[in-house]
């Protein structure tokens, strides 16, 4: 058995040619060598330069967020009336704003809000959306109709209309509570995306023979769901989650830009950008740096997510 795949990959047909055929015989050839799907995905991920750039950006941002207190040269909220609108200098590498606050420190601390909201809103949406999607897909019938009607109702809303009204309902505030409100609003808007995604995967997976085999063996429903169905729909979930973080960060920045995100004095990139537009004529850098920070963060997660997608599911490329 084992000789057949080896003779293909090592024979006269080049690997590159085989790959271009697209899926023909390749899975079989792989199965010959014992490499776990995870190891294979990591190997593919490491080959992609853009994905590695994305991973690099994300890692640096996470470190900046964790060590913000150490990295920031000054307090992000302490104002200094004697030093307003300073141009970038050694003392203030990114200058100061209209209250004399150090922009570099504000941007470093802003990383926390951006990442916290981006990651936790997606996780929250995931923890609600995935179980609902699994139950809807697995049990079908009335349960499915009931759950998906509610999801469709949320999806029927233009995403920003819902997020904005939710934020007005929650009344935006500063600090941790304010951040949690934004997280909640973005999570609610994004729950149906995961529910739909998982439901679709479950619908196709539950018809497979190995699930039938599980049933025949008398495996309980929840065990089938979590041990056999869920692992098989992880790939699209992981990809959507990573790309979803990028979207959530943009939504957070947009809400902040509209004045509906975490409130000052808590440093938030979107708010800083908006607040400094009034002074753009003479102090362009004040709006530039928060914008660049948002862009870099979103780019990092997008590159990472793209790389993950290529690594986890080469057919999607």
């Amino acid at each position: 058995m084992a000789t057949t795949p080896r003779s293909i990959s090592g024979g006269s047909v080049g690997e590159a040619e085989l790959r271009s055929v697209g899926g023909v015989g390749w899975a079989g050839a792989r199965a010959g060598r014992t490499e776990s799907p995870l190891a294979e995905a990591v190997r593919r991920l490491r080959k992609s330069a853009t994905a590695l750039i994305g991973v690099g950006i994300v890692v640096v941002l996470v470190l900046v967020a964790i060590f913000a207190d150490v990295l920031a040269p000054r307090s992000p909220i302490a104002s200094n009336q004697a030093q307003t609108f300073q141009r970038p200098s050694w003392e203030h590498p990114l200058g100061t704003d209209q209250l004399g606050r150090d922009m570099l420190s504000r941007i470093i601390h802003g990383t926390r809000i951006s990442l916290a909201v981006g990651v936790s809103s997606v996780l929250l949406a995931l923890f609600v959306g995935v179980p609902f999607g699994m139950i809807a897909g697995f049990y079908g019938g009335r349960v499915d109709t009931g759950i998906m009607r509610v999801m469709d109702l949320i999806l029927a809303f233009p995403i920003y209309l819902l997020a904005i009204i939710l934020m007005v309902m929650f009344t935006p505030t500063a600090g941790l509570i304010g951040t949690m409100k934004v997280t909640g609003a973005i999570a609610i808007v994004r729950i149906p995306i995961y529910a739909r995604l998982v439901r679709g995967s479950v619908l196709s997976i539950k018809e497979k023979e190995f699930i039938e085999a599980c049933r025949a063996l008398g495996v309980r429903d929840h065990s089938i769901l979590f041990r056999h169905v869920l692992p098989n729909c992880l790939a699209p979930i992981i990809v959507t989650t990573t790309l979803g973080i990028a979207t959530s960060i943009i939504v957070e920045a947009t809400l902040s830009f509209l004045g509906l995100g975490t409130q000052p004095p808590t440093p938030s990139w979107g708010w800083d950008l908006k607040a400094n537009i009034a002074f753009i004529q003479a102090n362009a850098w004040l709006s530039l740096f928060p914008g660049l920070a948002i862009f870099l963060t979103v780019l990092g997660f997008n590159l990472f997510g793209d790389g993950l997608r290529d690594a986890l599911d080469p057919r999607l490329k």
Partner: protein, 324 residues
């Protein structure tokens, strides 16, 4: 086909009712009400109760909604509590601004995305492809307001105030009242930056999608057949490949409408345009219930009508798709 369109048009009604009702419920559960803002410093509990009774705000929420709906069917969108102006009139003044912005931004998106997506797919792994994919990756990662700020810096501040940074001049013929100023040149200078700010992100997204689906389609057997029978490259690409590759692209364009509405709010805020976006956000923040309902209604209508148009576009792109 006609029955299909009719059925879809009828389906619009429950969706719009659902959206407006939920917005109605949500707005009324927001702490504070417009009466507080209306009375301002002269606020007394007595006046507030009187004012609430005057605007019918003391009735049960469902009753209030039914009253709103009843007036709506007669063409009365209600009047703003804070300004007293009829909501429909405000919406009509602001609609052309947003409509022009959205249509032009979609035009910008398609004019960039179609050539870039085709070139990326046909010249795969060449420098042209790498440029297109890199620029597209950057494009999907920049929020609209930052593109807007960059445009402002270059064209409003950098090039000696070449383009105005805010305000609006109507396109001749679109001004719904007698008082607004309109000129072709003035309109062009005002709409250019917002349309690009809103369009570039969309262009980047569509480029990525179109390139991916073109890559799939171009390998299909019917494209090989078309080439084998001696067709020139141009009809092969545009008639055979592009039309099919556009189907997933159009789907995503439909899904993007929700984001487009958010984008319009942001861009209109940034460029201080008197469009529906700024109207909506101002109304929501001021808790002007009647205006918010008007905004929710027009947004919901736009949302479902565009989704219907997307479904109808499929029949043009792929005549095998039939609706009965």
């Amino acid at each position: 086909m006609r029955t299909y369109i009719l059925r879809r048009l009828l389906q619009i009604i429950p969706t719009v009712l659902g959206i407006t009702f939920i917005v109605f419920l949500m707005m009324r559960s927001v702490p504070g009400d417009p009466v507080v803002a209306l009375l301002g410093d002269a606020y007394t509990e007595e006046d507030a109760i009187k004012a609430r009774a005057e605007y019918g705000l003391n009735k049960p929420i469902v009753v209030q909604y039914v009253i709103w709906l009843g007036k709506l069917v007669q063409g009365d969108w209600g009047a703003s509590i804070l300004t007293g102006r009829p909501v429909l009139q405000d919406v009509m003044i602001r609609l052309p601004v947003t409509l022009e912005l959205v249509v032009l931004s979609m035009a910008v998106a398609l004019l960039i995305a179609i050539p870039a997506g085709i070139i990326g797919a046909l010249r795969r792994n060449t420098w042209a492809d790498y440029t297109a994919t890199t620029v597209a990756m950057v494009g999907v990662s920049i929020p609209e307001f930052f593109i807007g700020v960059l445009l402002l810096l270059v064209f409003s501040i950098g090039l000696g105030g070449f383009l105005p940074s805010s305000g609006w001049i109507y396109l001749p013929g679109t001004c719904p009242t007698m008082v607004c100023g309109s000129s072709l040149w003035g309109n062009a200078t005002h709409v250019l930056m917002p349309a690009f700010a809103l369009g570039i992100g969309r262009a980047a997204l569509l480029t990525r999608l179109l390139r991916a689906s073109m890559l799939e389609v171009i390998r299909a057997e019917y494209v090989t057949t078309a080439r084998a029978k001696g067709l020139a490259e141009r009809p092969v690409v545009f008639k055979h490949a592009l039309k099919n590759a556009l189907i997933p692209t159009v789907t995503v364009m439909g899904l993007q409408v929700g984001f487009l509405i958010g984008g319009a709010i942001v861009v209109e805020t940034l460029f201080a345009m008197p469009g529906l976006g700024t109207f909506g956000i101002d109304a929501i923040i001021a808790r002007d219930y009647q205006q918010v309902q008007g905004f929710a209604l027009i947004t919901a209508l736009a949302f479902v009508v565009i989704n219907l148009l997307v479904d109808l576009t499929y029949t043009f792109l792929d005549p095998r798709i039939r609706y009965a």
